[in-house]
Amino acid sequence: MIPLVDAIEVRISQGQQFVPDVRAANPVGFRGLPVISNAPCPQGCTECADSCPTTAIHLQPLRLDLGRCVFCDECARVCPEQKIQFTAGYRMASRERDGLVVREGNSSLGPVEASEAIRKIFGRSLKLRSVSAGGCNGCELEINAMTNVNFDCVRYGIDIVASPRHADGLILSGPITANMAEALELCYHGMPDPKFVIAVGTCAISGGVFEASPALDRSFLGKFAPQLYVAGCPPHPLAIVNGILDLMGHSDGRH
């Protein structure tokens, strides 16, 4: 039995928790999308590239690959011209792997191309099977958080299911350890067609800080290319939800 008065008190203290418009939220303080100014690099300077723990930065021209970035802020701090600045932008998803590369003068990544095929079948109901293949629990917590009362992706028909048999999409986190490689592939094969893969977080996209380890086996991604990449370490729940909404062609008001 639940004491009714206490239950009502909980409900009142809860108030309205959901973010009204995930397309126009404001995660204050979030270290998100980096922007790179057009200010010229000092001659021969390689400070940012040298400081990056995951070789996410290439020079001439200067570009930052969010699929490798761990958002540690080191490059922004070492640049003598302060060219790099991390903003609170959370729209960090792409259909293509190289769509995650930020170039000088970009204020955002390119638009996520909606997939008409995916929208037709899954636009009103997308059920995801989560597989952590070496994830550190950062991405897993944020994937879980997107289903909480604040982000509430379920209002868009996006939800997590308990079996691959019930799933439309496989939401992958972690760098794919050798010990998980087989289970990951069995899970994917257990999902009925049509189905697709979403890669969430730096480790899934590039191996991240673990990329050089011989204990990984990333061959799954060579066989089953993701339809969506969501950058972050870990990605903000808003980044994941918005990436999926873009993929499904939900109206945006931005582009």
């Binding site: 928790q17 995660p27 952590s132 293949a133 897993e140 879980n144 958080a145 350890t177 480790c203 990984l216």
Partner: protein, 494 residues
């Protein structure tokens, strides 16, 4: 003020015994009541030998300090297992065996800890313990589980719905972190340390920072240690809220899932406003505080904490009064105190089973030395106790944070420091993360480069507690037993 959580020694000065002497010394410490923290191996200092050097770490109970000594096999000496006499050694000896192939005489169960090295990709090829009997049935769960959670395999032997035995099979998350820690340049280590167990990023990074600071003789202002403690307690509260929310979900107590969930959002968004990351990442580096803590931040902490305190009291009342919750959690998954002691439970799970193991109290360093944290211990050791531990620790931590706000002024960021590490030294560094004690051990070579890095998560020891807890419970209570411990798969697997 000296830092009791850190022990820096020239390698030549660490007491080294032969294998029998090492074993006897360890037994002496245990029988004296000193708490075992770790036993691990490092590669032999003699390049022609395969036999690792063994290290044992204890807390000297009387003097509240770390004790570290080594074991080095002389001639044809063999290492005799301590596990049969003191089961708490089991996981450490299994790990040394797996990592170095050390022959261990009379170990009752040399199951691989994480299927690394030569055991990689061999997780399917393993003889689980079986119960014999016509009506016994064997249930295998995982590695992939129903919810959004890390992978692990659980092999139950059941009679009807009662679990007689659970064998936990981990290694799916093994990424080779220790090897990477040894080969990464120190200026790039922090992001890797933070990603070993991403839900304990602060718990891990603080131990690493102090280890490296000790090696490089970098002193850190006490105000910086105050901010570190703030970050650690914010992480503790946030993850305890995850635990309570998870337990609520698993007993279908939906007001709890929603409310603890949104309270967690409030706490981690506070961390985000203080350092840019909901997980406290990139807040600290050795010798460096990356973000200033100003009056506006202090006001933000006070406002957020007070709001959470107000709201959590309401849901805690409902949670504790609801028979729908207590009926599921009380007496379920009990690990009685003597068993917890015997198998060496640590951290929050140990405290829920009556053990007073908490490094914030046992080794009072940094801000905890100035302002002690009242420690919570529950005695029943069941899922209810593990829920209560979280409720009380959240309460203590939030109060402690508010007191900290009264004691700390503005703290300016500390710029990057120069690293000049001492050659041929070894450093142990501990921190009480939200699950329990996290250990770093770093050795440097003759040029100050990292020669060895050993990392240890409290989950390494506590998984066995879960295996014991579910015995004689119904298999449908496994999810709440698992959630009540909420251990780290990736922390075990490294």
């Amino acid at each position: 003020m000296s830092e009791p959580r850190v022990l820096l020694q020239p390698l030549a000065e660490v007491e080294t015994l032969d294998f029998p002497g090492f074993g006897q010394r360890a037994i002496d410490h245990v029988t004296r009541g000193d708490r075992l923290l770790s036993l691990f191996g490092t590669p032999s200092y003699d390049s022609t030998s395969d036999t690792p050097v063994l290290h044992a770490v204890f807390i000297d109970r009387e003097r509240h300090k770390l004790v570290h000594f080594r074991g080095h096999g002389q001639g044809t000496q063999k290492y005799h297992s301590l596990t049969s006499r003191f089961p708490a050694f089991h996981c450490f000896e299994r790990e040394v065996h797996e990592q170095y192939g050390l022959r261990i005489v009379d170990h009752p169960w040399l199951k691989p800890i994480r299927f690394e090295g030569a055991n990689l990709k061999r997780m399917n090829d393993y003889p689980f313990y079986k119960l014999k009997g016509k009506e016994v049935h064997e249930v295998g769960v995982g590695p992939i589980h129903a919810g959004v959670i890390e992978p692990g395999h659980f092999r139950f032997m059941c009679y009807g719905e009662t679990v007689y035995h659970l064998e936990i099979h981990l290694g799916y998350q093994h990424r080779g972190a220790e090897q990477l820690l040894r080969q990464t340049s120190p200026r790039k280590l922090t992001p890797l340390v933070e990603s070993v167990a991403g839900d304990t990023a602060v718990g891990y990074v603080l131990g690493y920072c102090r280890a490296w600071e000790a090696l490089c003789n970098l002193s850190v202002r006490s105000e910086v240690e105050a901010i570190r403690a703030l970050a650690l307690e914010l992480e503790r509260v946030a993850m305890h809220l995850v635990g309570l929310g998870g337990l609520a979900t698993d007993v279908a107590f939906l007001p709890g899932s929603s409310t603890y969930g949104r309270l967690r959002t409030s706490m981690i968004n506070l961390s985000m406003r203080l350092c840019g990351s909901r997980f406290g990442r990139s807040w600290f580096r050795p010798g460096e505080l990356r973000f200033s803590f100003l009056e506006s931040h202090k006001a933000d902490v006070r406002k957020t904490v007070k709001q959470v305190q107000h709201d959590i009291a309401i849901i805690n009342t409902l949670f504790q009064k609801s028979t729908t919750v207590s009926h599921r959690l009380c007496t379920t998954g009990a690990v009685p105190t003597p068993l917890a002691q015997e198998i060496g439970l640590v951290g929050m799970s140990g405290r829920a089973s009556g053990l007073d193991c908490d490094l914030r109290d046992e080794l009072r360093g940094g801000e905890y030395g100035l302002h002690p944290m009242p420690i919570v211990v529950e005695s029943a050791g069941d899922c209810w106790a593990r829920a209560l531990i979280r409720i009380h620790e959240i309460d203590r931590s939030l109060n402690w944070i508010l007191q900290l706000m009264d004691n700390v002024g503005e703290v300016q960021a500390e710029p990057p420091a120069k690293y000049v590490p001492l050659p041929k030294h070894g450093v142990l560094s501990f921190e009480e993360g939200w699950r329990g004690e996290v250990m770093h051990y770093i050795e440097t070579d003759e040029s100050g480069k990292i020669a060895h890095y050993k990392l240890q998560d409290p989950s390494l020891r506590n998984w066995f507690g879960l295996a014991q807890a579910v015995r004689n419970n119904a298999i449908y209570d496994f999810p709440i037993c698992n959630k009540s411990f909420d251990l780290s798969y990736c922390g075990n697997d490294l």
